[in-house]
Each structure stands twice: as structure tokens, then as C-alpha cells.
Symmetry: C2
Subunit: 496 residues, 2 copies
């Protein structure tokens, strides 16, 4: 009707002169934020999907999005027990229903009793529901062989993302040469660089050693730190273990070295451990920073300030949509902790369904409970399939001339190195694109496979990579690997 | 065991010398953040609850928390239909179950089909699930009498809080005299002042007129704006309608005046409309800023840049824990919108259960569907009870000498003015407290009622208020009102 005509321009976002808020006068820090995992290539993938639905002919019938660690989107089934309890919490009438096992009902009842008005629709305490924070603390104690965990140090969060940004917020200060510097690995998960841009902190890049299976070397940390001290105030060291996008699992020795380094150099440690169950390679094992810290004795465990992060999004659960997570802060000054508590209270609370889910993750069915067998079967199946796919990916990629791939020791990604012919590099530059973006865009257009270019995570100058998740079901993963192989050979030929 | 002894000091947060991160060197912007709704008084309330559980004798047996708009915590029951669909989405096995009505199943199926891998555990698009954004747009069109809404302008969010802070983030820039100024009402909902502190923007306070039922006067807007132009760059005008903490509902005329003012003065409008269903007073009606804007004709509707906010936390739903919400942006520069989309992608996506819930709110059961009658009955009962309690609150408070209370036209709060004897004011100052904090703390200790002092929201110099929600069940609300009345009389006598 009339409105349609009147407001056509306004409604369709046609650029108009004289906007109040423009690219030129908006927050410059926000403008500097980059987040490749959902960047232009993903937007093009969504567009192509639309075109396919509209009947546009393509050399493929389906876009496979291997750009993001989103297990359920790739067909992984939710763990039955988790969802039963969530259904019970959502609609407590079901507690009368005989189809639900007793342990699921018990968990749901306990969670509901801890909620305001016994409803997951009530705001919780900003730090998270108290009994869930206790369960998290017990989980950590058990995981770490009895090292105590204080529920007062646990903060539930809206996914790990939220907690990571919150801790960075506390730590950032200063101007000019006093600006806070934050050490992050390259390649990194781009949440870190994005948060640093937004907070106007200095990113200090340390490089993982691709030739040594993406391992972390304290010498490189030292190099990066000392160089950064010339122009900023380095205060924080971020570690991702198991690594995203690189898939390495740190050795106990390495973690000890890092902790010693952090103590010597007065750095606050941030340990991103969201992939702690995702360890596949033989001889590799997950060691939490907390555990190693405490095993190093009181001169470390009472000194080193640290926050470690976990999430419901990864591991065997893959429940990304619920936005559940927690952090544990260690040795944080009580006055600063009070500030942290105040800061999180502004956003009221983390999503309560995500908190409930987290409670099940840290307090799963026990051997004497009716859901135990099914739970273990489902959990084991997910992790075993991932281990198989990790191996498969490495093997197949390493058969392709021009692709070299480290073992996927853990996490959910491979980050293979690709050699690109000079002509392709020149062509990309001509088109104003970074070469690995050019490569990935072409792969998307020709094969319908959506990856993230290595440049989105950072890489050594002159090297090129892409990140691919290993999450697609085995048969589909094989297809993806074959398509990438064919494409890579074709691409190399085309530009030789 | 041994760990316990070794790490006792560290685990219990005993202050230690030589912390890296201290109150002195942490982010000063975070330090400036205040959030009274969950401030010291609430912390004391939680403590008192603990003491009661431990058997400590008090002049009351229960703490009544009337400090926060948390409907379910106050005993309001969730709407059946919403929770049925959420249970179905959580555990789709239940779709086979005959106990669920067909319309609930249909909604759940539609939501699941729009999720990656048909699971609410998958990340969604960062802007929110597409079909839900379409439903939101339809809802807005229907609400606003046919004025079109473009799904591309809808961004789902983690509660309204998230969307409000995100828009402020985009708008803030500059240093010194160029710093962005943001106009907020006094009294205000303290999310706004907290966000401005964190973003280092300038808060420009305009006062609502308590003598005219907390109405907004453009003359006062102009005064505040012109004064602020001397020292910053005012770019944004925030409005809360219906008002929190003040409970006023703006007239259509007032909204038109505000929009005209925003256009003349080149201000970006932020309309916080989370209480849009909470209108109780006769003669009052909710008018959305969007609708009024478009009814003012194309020179307004194609010009004024605006964002409006809604939430699943308030209205008849009260589903705060799910952290659902949306915003609609109008006339936003497409380049800026691209930046907004990028910015929200860093946090991956809003909680999917909250998105699902929002979908039911904007697409509730229709007259020809089986859940309609129950849904309407439940919805009407909640809103009718609130209307009754709004009236009751005003009436009772106005019988107390020294308390004056405007009608609660809408929202969920009353913000009565209290006169405090000079001796009480002096005594508070002696104890280093603001007088209304002193008053509320005493009320909490003596009667077990938790309110928020007016100073947490801002008030005219020399006046004192408190905020109380009207959410407790009628009988409990009557008790609360009586207790406050008795306390106020006693307090006045004590300090006279
Ligand atoms: C290393 C790492 N940290 C944190 C996150 C954030 O995940 P979420 O916010 O879903 O918990 C991710 C997600 O992929 C990640 O890979
Ligand atoms: C005026 C106003 N805006 C926004 C919010 C934020 O609510 P939520 O983040 O739960 O949607 C509230 C909560 O009380 C409010 O009163």
C-alpha cells in the first residue's frame, strides 16, 4: 500500500546523502575489527545457497560450509541426556512423564530449584547460578586430580567468547607507550584480534612453529615480548590449547615453560581451553594450565594470575547455540574481582538454558545412573569419529602436491599450508585480494566448498593457508577432501 | 589434602602484595561503571538470605527482592505455549508425543528447520535466524498498522541489553570536545550510564518532570543539548517508553515532538520499548517511535536514523533468563549496517533458545489454533494482575505522609519520592552513604525488603526516591507496601 511507495528508498537501504552516522564518523575502533570466520567468503556462500535454491546452475548442488566449528550444523546429533534435561527444565510438566529417566529428572529438578521462582525464565545471579558454579568447581577439581577450585572464582558466561572479552576489558588501559599489550599466537582465533581492536589494545603477535607441528616456543614469546616493550606495556599472554586454527596440543613441558615465562615477565595468563576434550593424536594429552600451575608449587600457584575458559560449544557436546561457558580466575586481586562482578552484572546474566546445559556437562550421568550407558556410548562415538576424521584429513591432504598439513592433534580444524603459483599471487593482487582469499573464493565458486583463508587468522609473511573444520560426516569429509585436491591441482595448473 | 594447605591463601582471595592486575592499573573505564540494580544492597540481601538459612534471628523470615524486574522470580508462571514449543525444540523426540498441541509442534518444526542441522545447538547467523527475523518484521508491521518493516533491518540480540550496547558502540567516537555525547533521561535505567562509562562517551542528562507524571518536555531536551554542545559532540538521544524506573507512558504528541527535535538537532534516536505491552493507565496507549515516525511523513521517515529495542524479558512473558531480544534499525547507512553486521559476528550469535522464544512472542497462537484460548487467558491474566497492582501501589503509597507517588502508567516499577528528615540526611553523610541508600539499607535490615535507592537511577539534586517493582503477587505486594509504610513512619519519627 501507500507506505511501500513512500518509503521504498529508506526500507531498502539505498545510500542517502547526509546520514548522521557514517563510515567516516562512526567508532573507528569498531571499523578496525575483523572477523574472517564469518567474513565475505561466508556471505558469498550464503548468496550461492540462495542462488541454488532459485535454480541457478552451478558445478555443484550444495554448498558445504567447512568454515566454522559448528558440530550440529554438520550433522552431529545432540547428546540425548543433555536435551532431555533441557526439555524438562523448559516445560516442568514433563517431570510427571514416565518416558524420562530418573537421573534426567533429578538433574532438572535440582537446576529448577536453584532458579528464581523455579523457572529458567528468571534472571540468575550475574556470576551464574550458585549450585552450578559449585558443580563447575567440582568438575575442575576432579579433572585436575584434586587441586581445589573455589566456586567464588567461577564465572558462568555467554559462551567462552563473552568471558574472554570480559577479562580483556578489565586488563586494558593506558595511552601511547603505556597502552596495554596482549600477546596472542599467530595463527590465532580471530575473536582475540577483534576484541583487541575494539578495546584499542596493542596486539603482540608471537608465531607458532609450523615446522614443529605448530608448537609454541618460549624463545619466540621472548622475542615478541621484548620487541613490544619498546612501544607498549605488555601485560597479558593468551594461549589456545588445543589450538584453533592449528590443531596442536601442548605438551606438559611446554605449558610449564609458558607459566615460568609468564611469572618471570609479569604477564596475566589467559588459557583458552574450550577444546579440552578434543585430543586425538597418540601420545598427546590435555593438561590444564591450572593443574600444571599448581603442580609447579606454591611459588607459582600463589602468584601467577590467570583466567581459563571453557564452553559448551565444542568437545563432544557441540552445543554452540546455547551460548554456555565458564571461566575460572586464579589469584585475582579481590578488589579487581569485585569490579569483574560489577561489570558482568550490567548485562544481568548469562542465558539460563546455557547455564543449565553447562551444569550437565560438568555433572554428567554417573556409572550407577540409568542414563550412563547411553551417554557414554554417544560421547565416545562423537570423539572417536572426530579422531578418525582428524587422521583422514591429514593423510589425504599430504598426498596432494603443494599442500602440506600438520597432524590434527586436537581441536576441530586443519590449517594446511598451500603453495600458490606466482601467477596466482599476481592475479590476486591485480584483483585487490590477498592470495589465499582469492584461492578460497575460487574454490567456493567452483566446488561449493566454504573455507576460511589463512590470512583471517594470521600467518607468516609469504606463506598461505586455509582453515577447514574436520566436522563433516566421514563420507562427506572424504568428498570435500577430494574436491579440494582436484581443485588445488587444477588451480596450480591454471596459474603455472 | 596437601593442596588445601598449600594454596589456602590463594584460593580464598586473601589480598596479596604485588598483584599484576590491581584496582590502580585496571581499565579505568570499567572502574567508573555503576549498576545499582545489582549493587551493594542486593549483595547484602543475598547475605541476609544466607544468614536466615543458617538460623540467624531477624525481625522477618524472608527477604523480598523488589529490586529487579524479574517476573518469574516473583512467582509469575511461564506461558504454557512458549514452554511447550521450547521443550519440543530442545528434545525433538517429543514431536511424536500426543500430549503437545499441533500448533506448538508446527512452530517447533518450523524453527528447527531453520536451524543448522535442525538443532538449536547450532550457531545461527549472527544477525539471527532468517525466518525469525521475517516473523519479527511481520509482527512490527502488524503492530504499527501496516507500516513496512524490512527483515534486513532486524537484528536479534542477547536480551535488549546487548543490542543497546552494540548500537552505542557504533556511535561513540572522538576525543576531548569531540567526544560523542549521548542524551539519557534522569531517572534512567542504569544500563545506559554503565555503557557510556565503559565506552568513554559523555552522558548528557535530561530530566523527566516528576510534577507532570514523569513526562518528557522538549524544552528540557533543548536545555540539556545546548549546554552539552559547549563541551562535547551530542549525537544520540535515548528514550525509554514505557519508562523504567518511572513508569510513565509517553503520549503520541510527545513522541512526535521528540522526533521533530531529533531531526532538527541531528540526533540518532534510540527507542527502548521493552515494556511495550505493559500499559495499564486509562487513556494511555503504547505508540511505537517507528509508527509515529512514519506517520509524520516521508521527510521524517526517510531521514531520521533510529534503532528501537524489544526483549523477551518483560511484557506478559517475563522470560528474562532466555536473553532474547531484537532491534530494528531505520535509515541506517548501508555501510554502517555492514559494520554492525561484522561487529555482531565476533560474538557468533545470540542464544538460539532465546531466538526461538522471541519467534513465539512475535508469532503467537492465532484464533483458529488449538493453543489460542489458553494462551490468551494466561496472557490477559498476567497483564490484568499487573494493572491491578500498579493501581494498588500508587494508592497505598499516596496514603503515607512523606511518600508521593506518580501513577504507574506502564512498565513494572514505581519510583516514589520520599522526604527524609534532615537528621537522617546528616546521619547518612556521617556514615559516608547517600541518604536514600541509607534509607533502603535500613529498610532491608529491619523489614527484609530489598529496593533500589533512587540515586542508582539519577534524580534531581536534593530529592530522594526508591524504585520498587510491582511484580510480587498481590497479597505479597500488599504486605510489602504495608511494611514500607510502617518503616517510613518509624524512620521519620526516629530522625525527627
Ligand atoms: C579457541 C576458541 N575460543 C573461543 C571460542 C568461542 O566459542 P563460544 O563463544 O561458542 O564458546 C571458539 C569458537 O570457535 C574458539 O575456537
Ligand atoms: C528499560 C530497559 N531496557 C532494557 C532492559 C534490558 O533487559 P534485557 O536485557 O533482559 O532484555 C531492561 C531490563 O530491565 C530495561 O528495564
Amino acid at each position: 500500500i501507500m507506505w511501500r511507495a513512500l518509503t521504498h528508498a529508506a526500507m531498502n537501504g539505498v545510500p542517502q546523502r547526509g546520514k548522521l552516522l557514517t563510515l567516516d564518523n562512526m567508532n573507528p575502533k569498531v571499523k578496525r575489527v575483523e572477523y574472517a570466520v564469518r567474513g565475505p567468503i561466508v556471505q558469498r556462500a550464503v548468496q550461492i545457497e540462495k542462488e541454488l535454491r532459485e535454480g541457478v546452475k552451478k558445478p555443484f548442488t550444495e554448498v558445504i560450509k567447512a568454515n566454522i566449528g559448528d558440530a550440529h550444523a554438520m550433522g552431529q546429533k545432540p547428546i540425548t541426556f543433555l536435551r532431555q534435561v533441557l526439555a524438562l527444565c523448559s516445560y516442568p510438566e514433563l517431570l510427571k512423564d514416565n518416558q524420562f529417566p530418573e537421573d534426567a529428572k533429578k538433574r532438572a529438578q535440582r537446576i529448577l530449584e536453584a532458579c528464581g521462582g523455579h523457572s529458567i525464565g528468571a534472571y540468575s545471579a550475574s556470576q551464574g547460578i550458585e549450585c552450578i558454579r559449585h558443580d563447575v568447581a567440582h568438575f575442575i577439581e576432579k579433572r585436575d586430580g584434586g587441586i581445589p577450585s573455589n566456586p567464588d572464582n567461577i564465572y558462568l558466561s555467554t559462551g567462552a567468547s563473552d568471558a574472554i572479552v570480559t577479562i580483556l576489558k578489565l586488563l586494558v588501559s593506558g595511552e601511547g607507550r603505556d597502552r596495554t599489550g596482549v600477546m596472542i599466537s599467530i595463527p590465532q582465533y580471530p575473536l582475540y584480534s577483534a576484541a583487541l581492536a575494539e578495546l584499542d589494545a596493542v596486539q603482540i603477535s608471537y608465531y607458532l612453529d609450523e615446522d614443529k607441528c605448530w608448537s609454541l616456543d618460549v624463545k619466540e614469546l621472548r622475542r615478541a615480548l621484548y620487541a613490544a616493550r619498546q612501544h607498549c606495556n605488555p601485560r597479558v599472554l593468551c594461549i589456545i590449547n588445543p589450538g584453533n586454527p592449528t590443531g596442536q596440543v601442548q605438551s606438559r613441558q611446554c605449558i610449564e615453560d609458558v607459566i615460568r615465562f609468564a611469572k618471570e615477565e609479569n604477564l596475566f595468563l589467559m588459557a583458552d581451553e574450550v577444546y579440552q576434550d578434543n585430543v586425538y593424536a597418540e601420545g598427546c594429552q590435555f593438561h590444564s594450565f591450572k593443574k600444571v600451575l599448581f603442580e609447579m608449587g606454591p611459588e607459582y600457584s600463589s602468584k601467577v594470575e590467570m583466567a581459563s575458559f571453557h564452553s559448551t560449544s565444542k568437545c563432544y557436546m557441540g552445543e554452540c547455540g546455547f551460548r554456555g561457558g565458564y571461566m575460572e580466575v586464579i589469584n585475582m586481586d579481590p578488589e579487581v574481582k569485585a569490579q569483574l562482578t560489577k561489570l558482568v552484572s550490567v548485562r544481568l546474566c548469562p542465558p539460563v538454558p546455557g547455564q543449565a546445559l553447562l551444569d550437565l556437562v560438568v555433572n554428567p550421568p554417573q556409572p550407577d545412573e540409568p542414563s550412563y550407558a547411553t551417554f557414554m556410548k554417544e560421547r565416545t562415538a562423537v570423539l572417536a569419529a572426530l579422531a578418525e576424521k582428524a587422521k583422514l584429513t591429514e593423510q589425504i591432504f599430504n598426498t596432494v602436491p603443494g599442500i602440506t598439513c600438520n597432524p590434527v592433534q586436537g581441536a576441530m580444524y586443519t590449517f594446511p599450508r598451500i603453495s600458490l603459483p606466482q601467477k596466482a599471487i599476481d592475479k590476486a593482487k591485480e584483483e585487490g585480494q590477498v592470495p589465499d582469499m582469492f584461492y578460497c573464493m575460487k574454490l567456493l565458486e567452483e566446488e561449493g566448498i566454504c573455507l576460511v583463508p589463512g590470512s583471517g587468522f594470521g600467518q607468516r609473511e609469504g606463506t598461505f593457508h586455509f582453515r577447514m573444520t574436520i566436522l563433516p560426516p566421514t563420507e562427506k569429509l572424504k568428498l570435500v577432501l577430494k574436491k579440494i585436491k582436484d581443485f588445488h591441482l587444477r588451480f596450480t595448473k591454471e596459474f603455472s
